[in-house]
């Protein structure tokens, strides 16, 4: 087990380098002058452009600039934003909020998504099954920004049940509405995956065997079927957690959550390349670690897969 984890950690190194290089190249290759538009209707002072170009090594060829950046990263130095703030500190501030938001969303996925999936999967073709199918479908087909705006309008502005936005106070209660909106899309996958997986496993040989052995129905479903059915679901939720961390751009924008998605999107529009690469690098790292964790749980859920 320890060796497996060590090997996986080693494997992350090329992945992190590969991903960050792609992002770094994309961000600094953004068309045009990264300082255009920073000075209103006129070009920026030449001295300013020169200073910034030197500061971010923009004159060097791309691979060289990237290596310098990577070197700084290894020393724990994420660089500075145009505003002169430490990227590292900004990330430390934004991540907890986003993680919290993602956890709230995951909670919704688990409770509602898996719950609905199990109900539907156990009674295929029933009213509940159809209800789950149709409702998840409706949710999938509506863009997040519409769901977000509508819920914000009614629950936040009209009825005042939840705060309309989150702002600086990222308490659990404030995050319920954006958390639900964020989860809405994945809810549908989780429900459908659970349903499909459960239905398939119920016909699997080992379940037949268990039933044939005379094990009680509850035990068969509760232990054997459920455990195996949840494997793809766990894979999905684990992957989704990583995606939610950086994919909450729209939701964080609508509900003004000061998280990573918000930070990255603002940085893309203001061309703050250091911020974008820094944030995405951390995103990739977190994501890979989460995945490792998922794989470990995977092995635990399905004894046929061993990490010897």
């Amino acid at each position: 087990m320890g060796r497996y984890v060590a090997r996986r950690l080693l494997q992350m190194i090329p992945v992190v380098i590969g991903t960050t290089f792609i992002i770094y190249a994309l961000v600094w290759a953004l068309p045009g002058d990264p300082f255009a538009g920073r000075c209103g209707a006129r070009p920026c002072p030449a001295a300013y452009v020169a200073d910034m170009t030197a500061k971010y090594n923009l004159d060097d060829p791309l691979p060289l600039a990237y290596i310098q950046y990577l070197g700084n990263l290894l020393r724990g130095d994420f660089g500075e934003t145009f505003q002169g703030l430490s990227v590292g500190e900004e990330l430390l501030r934004a991540y907890p909020t986003t993680v919290k938001l993602a956890l709230v969303a995951i909670a919704f996925e688990i409770i509602i998504g898996i719950g609905a999936g199990i109900l539907a999967g156990l009674r295929r073709g029933s009213f509940i099954d159809n209800l789950v199918l149709v409702s998840t479908l409706v949710v999938v087909s509506i863009p997040v920004f519409v769901i977000g705006s509508v819920l914000q309008l009614f629950l936040g502005m009209r009825w005042g049940i939840f705060p309309a936005t989150v702002g600086g106070d990222a308490s659990l209660y404030n995050l319920i509405l954006p958390g639900f909106v964020l989860a809405s899309l994945s809810l549908a996958y989780v429900a459908r995956l659970t349903r499909t997986s459960l239905a398939e496993n119920r016909r699997a040989d080992y379940v037949r065997t268990a039933v044939a052995k005379g094990l009680p129905q509850r035990r068969v479903i509760g232990i054997h079927t459920m455990r195996n059915s949840l494997i793809p679901v766990v894979t999905f939720i684990g992957a989704d957690f990583g995606a939610l961390l950086g994919g909450a751009i729209v939701t964080e924008g609508i509900f003004n959550v000061p998280g990573v998605g918000n930070l990255i999107f603002r940085s893309i529009t203001t061309r703050d390349g250091v911020m974008v690469t820094g944030a995405v690098t951390v995103l990739v790292l977190v994501f890979l670690l989460v995945n490792l964790l998922v794989d470990l749980i995977y092995g635990w859920l399905d004894p046929r897969i061993s990490h010897g």
């Binding site: 494997q11 992350m12 090329p14 992945v15 590969g18 991903t19 792609i22 992002i23 994309l26 961000v27 290759a29 953004l30 068309p31 479908l137 409706v138 999938v140 087909s141 509506i142 863009p143 997040v144 920004f145 519409v146 705006s149 509508v150 309008l153 899309l185 549908a188 996958y189 459908r192 995956l193 499909t196 398939e200 016909r203 699997a204 040989d205 494997i231 793809p232 894979t235 992957a239 990583g242 995606a243 961390l245 950086g246 994919g247 751009i249 729209v250 998605g261 999107f265 893309i268 974008v276 995405v280 995103l283 990739v284 994501f287 890979l288 995945n291 995977y298 399905d302 046929r304 897969i305």
Partner: protein
Amino acid sequence: MSRRRGGGHAAAVPRSLAGDAWRDLRRSPLFVGSAAIILVLVAMAAVPGLFTNADPRACDLAYSRQPPSGDAWFGYDLQGCDMYARTIYGARASILVGVLTTVVIAVVGSVVGMFAGYHGGRVDALLSRFTDMFFAVPMLLGAIIVLATFPSTIDTPSWQTIGKVVLALGVLGWTTVARLMRSTVIQVKQSDYVQAARGLGAGSRRVLLRHVLPNAVAPVVVYSTIILGVFVVLEATLSFLGIGLQAPVISWGIAISDARAYIRQSPHMLLFPGAFLSVTVLAFIMLGDAVRDAFDPRLR
């Protein structure tokens, strides 16, 4: 047997998988219903002129945001364009983005995932790391960065604009399919019938195609059918963020994102493109369900 999808070659083989599936499908009301809807949608995308005489680009500001009436069944949008015509013409871009992206990710993802899962070892490690590189970047974020790096201008032909959105989504979208495929292949590989086939001396290609693939394809089909709708929806989100498809392209996504600020005053602007989008998603998922049921040998 002669109308089998597999064509003449399959006719030689009695009761092939594809043949059975096709026979089942034709009897499934789910399949017939969804296929009919998709046919209509595809016709709409291919020949919008069949469904409306109105010009979607003929607009009059005087009609801005007018609700549905006898003259305009779906009302008018912000620019005073006929919503019915816009909705019909919008099918093309939206469905193209959805279908093309799904095809790209399903093919790329399945191939990568299958090889990784089946071969294991070094191949798996290499492919999995490669997958991770793309998997680790959230799809929407990655698409934003790609599209911000390669923006479409007015000189870009509309097929290129659509192509860019497809690639931006596809570049990062395939990884989930690859991972799903890999994990199911690993599962299936260890099952008795695959072991038996191998034990009987079947070559790895034959085992992959005849035994592993049919059994591992179900989750990919489920995922692909759902994700198809998601891509159509993501197209709208990218338009909302100002970097996806752009006018003069007409798409449901653009219409929905335009309508968002007017949900309260002119819900019809959201309702009609939204409903078409939902129906499209619904049709593809139903189709996917039907196909999966037919292809899944364990259901027989």
